[in-house]
Amino acid sequence: MEFLNALADPAIPFLRYAFGAGILASLAFGIIGTYVVARRITYIAGAIAHCVLGGIGAGLYCQHKLGITWFGPLSGAIVAALLAAIIIGLVSLHASQREDTAIGALWAIGMAVGLLFIAKTPGYIEPMSYLFGNILLISKFDLWMVLVLDTLVVGIATLFYHKFLAVCFDEEYARLRGVRTDLYYLLLLCLTALTVVLLVRVVGIVMVIALLTLPAAVASNFAKGLWQMMVLATLFCIAFIASGLAISYSNDLPSGPTIIIIAGFAYLAASVFQHFRKNRGR
């Protein structure tokens, strides 16, 4: 197949990097996406993802205008994502009312900050590539970065699996069993933030949230328990990214939207399948 040849072609390394980053990131996406879907915090994850643009803008500005070479868009994205996770986490823990308003505000402010920074950064920078992803931007360094973040996210999420499970299922009960639920909730949001950063380059800020939640949502139709849902979500995520990259490459389509459309169709198909299965069981 054309796509497999292209993967092996030394002249187009970015496709290999994108493919590798997608496969590696799928592990974090499957695990964290499962927590996000089970805990029903998709909206919060969306806000964190959009705040990443603020960090990317700040990173670009620092690098190109201030000449701070070590603080680039990726470092900016990580800092902004973590900061957004902590602020949103504290808001959702302490503001009992109008939580959604505060989160919505942060969502927009994060993006606004990013666009202002990008506007004031010398040289032409295309915000579209950050918003919707551009696999041409992926370097070998990014691949290493994904590997490091992946290890961190998967390591912490597996190590504290039972704590996260309890905090997601029944926060009050977990607290009564002596678990510092606030800390675990914030930690979960921080892991979500890091996961979102992993694939911003491949699918972009706007669509990364779909890749976080759709594989887990599809998996939830077949999974028995959270563990199975994580494994299935990871496999679905790999399938969506691999097929999306292949189709986008052979048809000269942008990779991000192609991947998301495939994930969306799979979600729709799984929902319809589940609907009929339930009705037949009745």
């Binding site: 089970a38 039972h162 704590k163 009050e172 009960y173 009564l176 069993r177 002596g178 939830s220």
Partner: protein
């Protein structure tokens, strides 16, 4: 684990006041609950039942007064309480197995990684005690309401506490499940103090040794004396008892009914 004698107070509350946003919810509450007691907390909705429960669990702090649970502050004795929340508040789609729910009762015993063998054995024993030995591998969302209620009790038992607190356990379960529930609670009451919150007082006197009426004030009654005062306390304010004897004269019901 130390066992308390029957004479010792499991819960001691002194002059407790609690207000929410300036509205008093509980006023000058003084209450002693003895170990191995079986008591029912009743009262009208909004009367402060849930607040009292949360104060005992240490989820809320009193504005004034003092609470001691098992001889310590509620925060410190928390781990010695088996708490059974209402099952209806759970996300019906959450993918978690019954065994994993029960294991949450042992959550304080692990920091990270997997549960120890002793924890899994304790969870299995608790499931067996609730008559759910074969259900461990099933999804919590797949089983019936009555079974879910029992799973939550098994989770509280797996925690091996000395005090069992149940919040509205009879809501949304059928009569057969309810009967089974009280059978089990009767057995557990031989070794635990059992405390149950309900707004449904019809059955209350069958199983309970005491009834605590909560309607801003808190009053404890032994169940032997079911008087007009007690009934007024349960339902809040003066109410008319509906008579089902139906000896109607053409003018309607007799005028000298109980009020």
């Amino acid at each position: 684990m130390n066992t308390i004698g029957t004479q010792e107070a499991a819960i001691r509350i002194r002059d407790l006041n609690f207000a929410y946003n300036g509205t008093p919810i509980l006023e000058s509450v003084t209450l002693d609950i003895m170990a191995r007691d079986s008591l029912c907390i009743v009262g009208p909705n909004g009367g402060g039942k849930t607040t009292l429960l949360k104060l005992i669990l240490g989820l809320l702090k009193p504005d004034q007064g003092e609470i001691q649970v098992l001889g310590q502050t509620p925060e410190k004795s928390r781990l010695r309480i088996g708490y059974v929340p209402q099952y209806a508040r759970y996300d019906p789609q959450f993918p978690v197995t019954v065994l994993n729910v029960v294991l949450m009762g042992r959550l304080d015993r692990i920091f990270c990684g997997a549960y120890a063998k002793t924890d899994r054995e304790a969870a299995q024993t608790a499931l067996e005690e609730m008559g759910l030995a074969d259900l461990g591998g099933r999804l919590f969302s797949e089983i019936s309401g009555g079974q879910r209620q029992r799973v939550l009790i098994a989770r509280a038992l797996a925690a091996e506490g000395e005090l069992l607190i149940l919040d509205e356990p009879t809501a949304n379960i059928d009569a057969a499940s309810e009967e089974h529930l009280f059978e089990v609670l009767g057995k557990l009451n031989e070794r635990l103090t059992v405390m149950l919150v309900t707004h449904d007082v019809g059955f209350a006197s069958k199983f309970f040794k005491s009834i605590v009426c909560v309607n801003r004030q808190v009053v404890l009654h032994p169940t032997s004396e079911l008087t007009g005062d007690l009934i007024r306390n349960m339902y809040g304010g003066d109410i008319r008892m509906i008579r089902h004897d139906h000896r109607c004269s053409p003018e309607g019901h007799c005028n000298h009914g109980i009020s």
